[in-house]
């Protein structure tokens, strides 16, 4: 069985995460305006929800944006280099917090997997997209997708 997850709830989760942990200020995440972004060098992070309800939350962006996000989270300077391990960890943790909050919206019980990061979105066989949105973070695009496995 699938449950409805409202796009506005997922949007609110993203806003809370960026306001509290990334930027320390509200309003830094807004809906992306204009045509969907064509990714040049994308990176995707995802976390699986298991249990009575199975699904996945995933976040895709340009590698350069993921670097900027990692710098903001880790408190690095603007031009400080980010190692791959830190990039994977920081970007993965953002999607982990998204996934945990999505899970709390469900009336069923379940558990959260550990976050994964790859350059290519592996997709989710049998997955049904429940919520899909492109967000702008300081003018950079981030795509946030929540899928259910039927």
């Amino acid at each position: 069985m699938s449950q409805v997850i409202a796009g506005e709830d997922v949007y609110a989760i993203a806003q809370d995460i960026f306001a509290s942990m990334v930027d320390g200020d509200v309003g830094t995440i807004v809906p992306w305006e204009g045509p969907p972004p064509g990714w040049q060098e994308p990176v995707t992070a995802w976390v699986d929800l298991q249990g009575d309800w199975a699904g996945r939350a995933s976040l895709t962006t340009e590698t350069s944006t993921a670097h900027a996000l990692a710098r903001a989270l880790l408190g690095f300077g603007e031009d400080e280099p980010v190692e791959r391990a830190d990039l994977v960890d920081a970007f993965g943790e953002v999607v982990n917090v998204v996934g945990g909050n999505v899970k709390s919206l469900l009336e069923t019980t379940g558990s959260l997997g550990l976050p994964q990061v790859a350059d290519v979105d592996p997709g989710l066989p049998g997955g049904l997209v429940l919520s899909e949105m492109v967000l702008a973070w300081h003018g950079r695009a981030l795509e946030l997708v929540v899928r259910a496995v039927l």
Binding site: S20, G75, D89, G100
Partner: protein, 127 residues
């Protein structure tokens, strides 16, 4: 005051430790519950442990349970810091012996508020 930050994400360890240092704590960290127990066995109890729930090897709930069984670790304050936010999960963590529970995402102010409740940070900062 000494604090141990236990989280499998280095990013989260950095964020939590940074907040604790601004509140006057010395911090150390560990990647999962077992690593935290090993560290505590070597260094002795700390004033505060901030521990995630979902971690490989030993998760936060197992860690809390293990600490509560260990007489040598009495007196440590434990706060779960996790994305797990169902009501039933919070009840489970408190029942296992966690003193406080902070849900991710959180602000530095939220950490301060919790530590004020726990009596680990002086309350009443100027507005």
């Amino acid at each position: 005051m000494r604090a141990l930050v236990v989280d499998d994400s280095r990013t989260m360890r950095v964020i939590v430790a940074r907040a604790l240092r601004t509140l006057g704590f010395e911090t150390d960290d560990a990647e999962h519950g077992q690593a935290a127990l090993d560290k505590l066995a070597a260094t002795g109890p700390v004033d505060l442990v901030c521990v995630d729930w979902n971690m490989p090897v030993m998760d936060g709930l197992e860690f809390v349970t293990a600490v509560r069984k260990d007489r040598s670790l009495r007196g440590m304050t434990i706060m779960m810091v996790t994305t797990e936010s169902e009501q039933s999960q919070i009840v489970r963590a408190l029942a296992a012996g966690a003193h406080e529970y902070l849900i991710k995402p959180f602000t530095v102010d939220a950490i301060r508020d919790k530590l004020e409740l726990l009596g680990l940070v002086a309350a009443g900062e100027p507005v």
